[in-house]
Amino acid sequence: MSRSIRVELNWPQENTVIVGDRHFFAYDRSGAVHVIASRCAHRGGPLHLGRIEDGKLRCPWHGNTFRVDRLCARGVAVVQRGSKVIAYLPVTDPDADESPAVVHSIVLAE
């Protein structure tokens, strides 16, 4: 069975998790916080810098759009109690040092 990386965010002061070269951003959908991989399925663009219009997130690189409800459904496992958000990120390389960093960064996908 694969492992998971547990991280705790103090939302909304902390809105981003960085693990190696992977980037996840937190997104508030009607009060429910989702943690979404910020990697466009097309060419790996930074989805957290995309804008949301009409329920779709537009990748800032090539303009591909993704339904937000589907991005949320595919987000990582999250438990939220008030401002405390616990997320479980998938491990991609069991041998790599994947210490997560929880930070605040610019997220345009709001």
Binding site: S2, R3, S4, R74, A77, V78, V79, Q80, R81, Y88
Partner: protein, 452 residues
């Protein structure tokens, strides 16, 4: 219409007060319910004052409305289960019939969704479970949560040991535990039927431990009865009805809610698994506290049994029940399981905070407030006439409250056992916001109740 008659045009609020009109829910002057499992007083007037369309929020969880709604819900749920008086039914046949009256049961079914949404609906807002839960994430979360719970402090046990009156404090905890302890595993029994594969048998293994393998003396509720009896407490269900804190009833109601509604099954398993996985050290610590308070006379086999068997139940519930259900039934099941874990964590922490505040409160008398003070109170003071025939009732102070005795003498009840505080004319007492209290008088008395 008659008290238990059915009228489809009534509002839910009217139906709730109709439900409370049942003879067995009528008020009584005594502060304890003696040897009658059907008598569960509901304050019809206060129930009628609740705005059922404005559900409780997490910050209103310890409130008078919460107390009333959770008492109502408990009666609704428990009339689904069998209760017979320990000394036999003779003399209580009418109460038996009234408690299980078909009309009352229909009313109960009709008002239950509103009462559930009111009392426990805030969990939907306070707990969010989002995203895609795979097996690794599910197990990681369970292990982290169980580790956190089993390595935490035990503030309730410590509070008992450090209380001004440790015996009263320990017994107040046991009063709260009696809600479940005297009917243990009743909610669990509701999930034994049907057909849901090998996990059904795993649940049954836990259940037969709870029921002492069919040996009455080994049944967990029998062990709890022995614990209570060993320290001189009463052992009939709901003897201490008036002294359950709203949060304690809510935790008990939660398990009925998620078993009564079959779609709550996964939440039930999640909540049950977490408790089973974390009870062992909690009960071991309770044994130490009870020994310190009561000495060798206390029968701690109930705690000792949990300290032992729940090590097994925790493993069984997580690895033989919860995880297989998650693997087999997919994301909806997994989110339900995790939601159950989180909901019972939240409810338990709220219940601990409520009980700790009650245990920390030792009321003392002071000179009664002056007329000038009362004039400056935020709301209009309420003048209550009390006497030996007055219905006894406990309530939760929704704000810091002043009880001042104008004439006669009044007993302030603030715990399930121990002497009440006597407050004589010219004296008063302050009830902090959130605390449960009741007033009684052996002879005519007048009190002024005001917010501060």
């Amino acid at each position: 219409m008659t008290a238990l008659g059915l009228n489809h045009d009534e509002s839910v609020s009217q139906q709730i007060t109709s439900y409370a009109d049942n003879d067995v829910y009528r008020p009584q002057p005594a502060p304890y319910v003696v040897d009658n499992p059907y008598r569960r007083p509901l304050d019809r007037a206060r129930l009628a004052g609740i705005d059922w369309q404005r559900p409780l929020t997490e910050d209103r969880f310890t409130s008078d409305d919460s107390l009333l709604a959770n008492r109502l819900l408990m009666n609704i749920y428990e009339s689904d289960s069998m209760f017979l008086p320990i000394d036999g039914l003779r003399g209580k046949e009418r109460d038996f019939a009234a408690f299980y009256d078909p009309g009352s049961r229909v009313l109960a079914d009709r008002i239950r969704p509103t009462a559930e949404r009111f009392a426990l609906g805030f969990l939907e807002e306070s707990v969010q479970v989002n995203g895609h839960w795979d097996e690794a994430g599910t197990l990681s979360h369970l292990e982290a949560t169980i580790h956190e719970a089993t390595t935490a402090d035990f503030p309730v046990q410590t509070a008992i040991e450090q209380a001004a009156d440790p015996r009263r404090a320990a017994e107040m905890l046991m009063v709260q535990m009696a809600l479940d302890g005297l009917t243990e595993a009743t909610a669990m029994s509701q999930n034994l039927g049907g057909a849901f594969g090998p996990e059904q048998s795993e649940l049954f293994k836990i259940f037969i431990d709870e029921f002492g393998y069919g040996v009455f003396d080994a049944k967990h509720s029998s062990l709890f009865t022995d614990l209570c009896r060993s320290v001189g407490m009463r052992t009939t269900p709901h003897h201490y009805w008036f002294f359950y804190l709203p949060s304690s009833i809510a935790v008990n109601n939660y398990f009925y809610r998620v078993t009564h509604d079959r779609t709550g099954f996964f939440r039930y398993i999640g909540a049950m698994a977490l408790l089973e996985a974390t009870f062992a050290p909690w009960f071991a610590r309770l044994t130490t506290a009870l020994r310190g308070v009561f000495g060798d006379a206390v029968d701690t086999r109930y705690c000792d049994e949990h300290a032992h068997i729940d090590q097994h139940h925790g493993r069984m519930a997580v690895h033989e029940l919860l995880m297989p259900l998650a693997r087999k039934h997919g994301p909806v099941a997994t989110r339900g399981l995790i939601r159950g874990v989180e909901e019972i964590r939240l409810l338990s922490s709220l219940a601990d905070a409520d009980l700790l505040a009650q245990l920390a409160w030792t009321p003392t008398t002071r000179p009664a407030r002056s007329a000038a003070d009362l004039e400056q109170a935020p709301g209009a003071p309420e003048i209550r006439d009390l006497g030996p025939a007055t219905a006894f009732e406990t309530r939760v102070a929704d704000a810091d409250t002043s009880v001042d005795v104008s004439s006669g003498s009044v007993q302030l009840h603030f715990s399930g056992t121990g002497d009440p505080l006597t407050v004589a004319a010219g004296s008063g007492v302050t009830v902090p916001k959130g605390r449960l209290y009741g007033l009684a008088a052996d002879a005519d008395a007048v009190v002024v109740v005001s917010t501060r």
